[in-house]
């Protein structure tokens, strides 16, 4: 487990994440431009939903990322609890903010789509409710993190909550699923015969990768900033500042 300590040491993390930040930002720019152009201009309008279908290219990647981010947060929480890595503690807090934003984005775009399609901004459907509960879980992690004056203690408490949450999320998800379902079934993950045409799936997948690189770029940027301010009294930060 030597490598965890190596890559997680604040000084070394700051060095290697700098390179990655550049690569990921460039990738995000390219993918986002390509994906948005394809999604908003090239891809055809849906025969039933017409132009409204274009909301999907933001909505679906945000919803995917909202769940992915929780897993990243909980994994960082495990690393933070076991190896006491400072960088992992910062990653927990930063991914909570990013994840909450993705969740909110998924909810808002979903509501904007729901009004013309279902005739209501909000219905108590299983997937909508799950996403709302996910937002509550993120808010909980953020609340406990900021309640502590000492950010390290706050991050440890947030890590525990995130780990408990990641075990609970599948249970919450399926209990809600049983309770009520109105949302259209998955149209992408049925890999044998996706029910969406390729002209829509391609931009969707490009947007998906764009969101993913965007997430990691954002996570690295935020973690680096938080790290600098947290470690501002140490010699390696002073050295960077003097450069």
């Amino acid at each position: 487990m030597h490598f965890i300590h190596k890559y997680g040491s604040p000084n070394y993390f700051y060095q290697w994440s700098g390179t990655w930040l550049k690569i990921l930002s460039a990738l995000t720019l390219i993918l986002m431009a390509l994906g948005l152009y394809w999604a908003l201009i090239i891809s055809p309008p849906d025969y039933q939903q017409s132009e409204t279908v274009r909301i999907m290219y933001i909505h679906v990647p945000s919803a995917w990322m909202s769940m992915f981010t929780y897993v990243v947060m909980a994994s960082a929480g495990v690393v933070a609890m076991i190896w006491r890595i400072k960088v992992a503690e910062i990653v927990v807090a930063q991914s909570a903010i990013i994840g909450a934003s993705f969740t909110l984005l998924a909810l808002v775009t979903g509501m904007l789509w729901g009004k013309p399609m279902w005739g209501a901004y909000w219905v108590w459907d299983a997937r909508l409710t799950s996403e709302l509960v996910l937002l509550f879980l993120y808010v909980g992690v953020l609340a406990i993190y900021s309640a502590y004056e000492d950010p390290r203690t706050g991050a440890k408490a947030a890590s525990i909550l995130a780990i408990v949450g990641v075990i609970n999320i599948p249970i919450i998800h399926y209990s809600v699923e049983w309770w009520n379902t109105l949302h259209q079934g998955p149209t992408v993950t049925k890999f044998d015969s996706p029910s969406a045409p390729l002209s829509m799936l391609t931009p969707l997948f490009i947007m998906f990768f764009a969101f993913k690189t965007y997430f990691f770029a954002l996570l690295f940027a935020r973690t680096r900033n938080a790290l600098l301010s947290r470690e501002r009294h140490t010699s390696w930060v002073q050295e960077i500042l003097e450069k």
Binding site: M81, V133, F136, L137, V139, G140, A143, I144, A147, Y148, D150, T153, K156, A157, I160, L161, I163, V164, G165, I167, N168, I171, I172, S175, V176, W178, W179
Partner: protein, 221 residues
């Protein structure tokens, strides 16, 4: 096992000496349930339809509000720290505290719940299912609630924050319990829901105490 019995005995004795404090969640439960007919409507049909939800949500809140007592006074006078320093299993210590809390808060709630259900015109033949779901689920509520309290012990504004953290985790319990009750009201099989709740209880019994121990350590830093 010794530590389990010793702590259980101690906490139950303490609960017996603070009878009024222990009765508070119960009174809260009774008052809040009787507010619903006043706030919604005294209509028989409507009340009997919302009764499972009302009783369950109120039970969740009553159990959450009483959760703070599980560690608070021991934390404040330092005895919790001493207990954690004892040799022996911390998990058993946590389980003992949760069990004592459940016996002093959860059990009375289960006993009073049928009376409150009848006040809401809840059909008598489904009362058993209400009690069974409460019997299986209130220990889950106590276990999960203990995580929230343990995480917020060292904070001044712990109470409301711990509810905010833990309430989302109560959702599966709420859904399975109320689904079981509505199945029982319409004479449908309910064993499946009980089994799910039981599985959730076993899982919580095994996993949650570790989270509580970790959280208590963070609080004592």
């Amino acid at each position: 096992m010794n530590i389990f019995l010793a702590v259980l005995q101690r906490d139950l004795k303490l609960a017996l000496r603070r009878r009024r404090e222990v009765a508070n969640p119960l009174v809260f439960f009774i008052i809040v349930v009787s507010l619903f007919p006043l706030g919604v409507s005294p209509d028989r049909e409507l009340l009997s339809e919302i009764a499972p939800g009302v009783i369950w949500v109120t039970a969740l809140l009553a159990s959450l509000m009483s959760m703070d007592a599980i560690f608070r006074s021991d934390y404040d006078d330092g005895s919790l720290e001493q207990l954690l320093l004892l040799p022996g299993s911390k998990v058993l210590l946590v389980l003992a505290k949760v069990t004592a809390h459940w016996i002093s808060i959860g059990l009375p709630l289960i006993i009073i719940a049928p009376v409150m259900a009848l006040l809401l015109y809840f059909p008598a033949h489904a009362i058993v299912s209400l009690m069974v779901t409460l019997l299986i689920s209130t220990p889950i509520l106590s276990l999960l609630g203990a995580v929230g309290v343990a995480l917020t012990l060292s904070l001044r504004t712990g109470g409301i924050l711990s509810s905010l953290l833990i309430l989302p985790f109560y959702i599966p319990v709420l859904i399975f319990s109320t689904m079981a009750i509505s199945a029982a009201t319409s004479n449908l099989p309910v064993m499946g829901y009980y089994a799910l709740l039981g599985a959730f209880l076993i899982m919580s019994l095994i996993l949650v105490p570790f989270a509580v121990v970790a959280a208590l350590k963070v609080s004592h830093n």
